[in-house]
């Protein structure tokens, strides 16, 4: 084979690869439609990006930025500014910061542990491989139409409930539940739990459906019931993936927990809104930074946990 032949052969192979690349007219039109939607949104007269930086607003911004500085420093403590700032921050931490950050963290943990347990149950009912009259192995007698329909309805119904739960944001759940249950911690825990159950339940059910069916089929062949299959095969086999999703959702729970307090329970969000209402912007900024630190801590812990899970499985 000469060089030129080899090259033209390669070009042909590349051409064939290019022609065989995955293409989808739907994807292309989706992209075009989305870009169009973004263009319409950006040119909407209500948006007025230019107005955002009008001279009046810039003046507002300058005043605002000045007020973010801790109050004692605004009074002019030129020489020992650093010491004053540290003392002020420690005061804030001891006064409200630590307990508010602790509450936010506890909110996220309580909610995600509750969700983890509930989702592990929901996934068994929502997984179409298990929620059927003949899981994993066909039974000798064809199951009646009624039993088939009942199992299908159970799985579909669970999925519909999960969709509804995740469609409503945490904040709106919290808003509604606070009115029903009265001020307290439960509404916020439940709000985080309901929305995330919708997400985690769906993800976990997909994990179960995507498991290699052989071990479950073997158990079923030995005459194991659904519960036995679930505890002996499905739960242990799916645990690593369930844990990955569990920690991934916990991360977002920490983020949400920092703001749910805005609806009136003592967490970081509460103090952010409270100090804003009292025009103490320095305190507000302090709690915003504390919330950011908490979210970063959550991200870090979650990343470490997920690496450990990946390495162990």
């Amino acid at each position: 084979m000469t060089d030129s032949e080899r090259i033209s052969g390669r070009a042909e192979a590349v051409h064939r690869l290019h022609a065989a690349r995955p293409r989808s007219r739907f994807a292309r039109w989706s992209g075009i439609a989305f870009v169009g939607l973004v263009a319409v949104a950006w040119t909407s007269p209500a948006l007025r990006p230019g107005d955002f930086l009008s001279p009046r607003r810039l003046a507002n911004l300058r005043r605002f930025l000045g007020e973010l500085v801790p109050y004692p420093l605004q009074q002019g403590e030129g020489e020992n500014a650093a010491r004053v700032a540290v003392a002020w921050s420690l005061d804030m931490l001891g006064d409200k910061g630590w307990s508010a950050a602790g509450t936010s963290l506890a909110l996220s943990v309580a909610a995600i542990v509750l969700v983890g347990a509930l989702a592990a149950v929901c996934m068994l009912v929502a997984a179409r491989t298990l929620a059927t009259p003949e899981p994993y192995v066909e039974s000798p007698r064809t199951p009646s139409r009624l039993r088939q329909r009942a199992w299908r309805a159970l799985a579909a119904g669970t999925r519909a409930v999960l969709v509804f739960l995740r469609s409503i944001p945490e904040y709106i759940w919290a808003f509604l539940l606070l009115a029903i249950l009265g001020p307290g911690v439960w509404p916020l825990v439940l709000a985080l739990a309901l929305h995330n159950l919708g997400i985690l339940g769906k993800l976990d059910a997909e994990v179960v459906e995507n498991l290699d069916p052989a071990p479950m089929a073997a158990l079923r062949g030995l005459g194991a019931g659904r519960l036995q299959i679930a505890t002996a095969a499905i739960l242990p086999l799916s645990l690593p993936r369930l844990l990955l999703f569990f920690f991934y959702r916990w991360e977002t729970c920490v983020r949400e927990a920092t703001v749910l307090g805005m609806l009136g329970v003592v967490s970081l969000g509460y103090w952010i809104v409270d100090s804003r209402a009292r025009n103490h912007y320095d305190e507000m900024f302090f709690f915003v930074l504390l919330g950011a630190a908490l979210v970063l801590l959550g991200d870090l812990l979650s990343a470490v946990a997920r690496t450990l899970v990946r390495r162990a499985s």
Binding site: V38, A106, V189, N210, L243, T258, M284
Partner: protein, 287 residues
């Protein structure tokens, strides 16, 4: 041994959960609503199957009908979400590039020209700085940005767009960079050994491999942006949350469900769209 490890992990999680419950003073007895709460829950949920089609109190002459009002709120919700996500995708793409180890594959040995040598020196710094920057972007929730912007500028729809766009840029950048990292590198390696420039390696070797995943993920984030945009209504922006809160506070529970179902419809539409796209783009992908 394996069972022991499993038990240890689950036991630890349960213990930490108990600590959280103790720290918050969670008491299962508090889950039972008082008589007032029970009555409210009854009134609220009895309207779930009969959302309002007309206002539940007298409105001034010339007010738009309720369904139109809900649609208008939905339109603003969609517009703010789309504007924010459009911005986030652009920012996230550039940041995600900078924060992906795969991006720098091309420059690792590309010290032939002054630009290549310069990249060799600066790329670890760019990579590190953008990773930290992404984490910082993500660390402040969109509602907190909304509160900050309200305090700094006052109400304006553009600040709502920015409030959503900042954390979403961070999230998209993080996930984009992970997708670029996980994309197969053989094409990029082949291009590099053929002497392609870093830009060519990226555009023709890496990006096409990761693009389906990235597109599907961006569409999923649109669904999230719709929810965030609706919630921003609670802070005075004219999205679904604004009208929902107002109706709830006026005890017009039928209207609450009208707005809730409108939001549900929007989210389901976005979900169906991104789901259809994912099935075509990512064969066998779960998330």
């Amino acid at each position: 041994m394996l069972v022991g490890a499993r038990g240890l992990v689950l036991g630890t999680i349960a213990l930490v959960g108990l600590w959280a419950a103790w720290e918050l003073g969670l008491d299962p007895r508090d889950l039972i609503p008082g008589s007032g709460g029970l009555a409210l829950a009854g009134e609220l949920f009895s309207r779930a199957f009969s959302p309002a089609w007309t206002y539940e109190s007298a409105v001034p002459e010339g007010t738009v009908p309720l369904p139109l009002k809900a649609l208008e709120a939905a339109r603003v919700t969609v517009m703010l979400a789309a504007a924010a996500l459009g911005l986030s995708v652009v920012v996230g793409l550039f940041l995600g590039l900078a924060a992906s180890t795969a991006t720098w594959v091309g420059s690792a040995h590309g010290g032939r020209c002054a630009w290549g040598r310069c990249l060799n020196v600066t790329s670890p710094a760019i990579y590190g700085v953008s990773r930290v920057f992404i984490a910082l972007l993500r660390s402040v929730h969109e509602l907190i940005w909304a509160v900050l912007f309200l305090a700094a500028f006052g109400v304006g729809q553009f600040s709502a767009v920015l409030a959503i766009a900042i954390p979403y840029s961070g999230t998209l950048a993080k996930v984009f960079s992970e997708m670029l990292d996980e994309a197969p590198r053989d094409a990029a390696e082949a291009l590099r050994s053929a002497g392609a420039s870093p830009a060519q390696i990226f555009l023709f070797g890496l990006l096409p491999q990761a693009l389906p995943d990235m597109t599907a993920y961006a569409f999923y984030r649109f669904e999230c942006a719709l929810r965030s945009s609706a919630v921003l209504g609670f802070f005075g922006y004219p999205t679904l949350g604004y009208y929902l809160a107002a109706s709830f506070e006026n005890l017009h529970y039928g209207e609450v469900w009208t707005y809730l179902y409108t939001l549900l419809g929007l989210v389901l539409l976005a979900d169906a769209w991104s789901g259809a796209l994912r099935r075509r783009l990512v064969p066998g992908g779960v998330r």
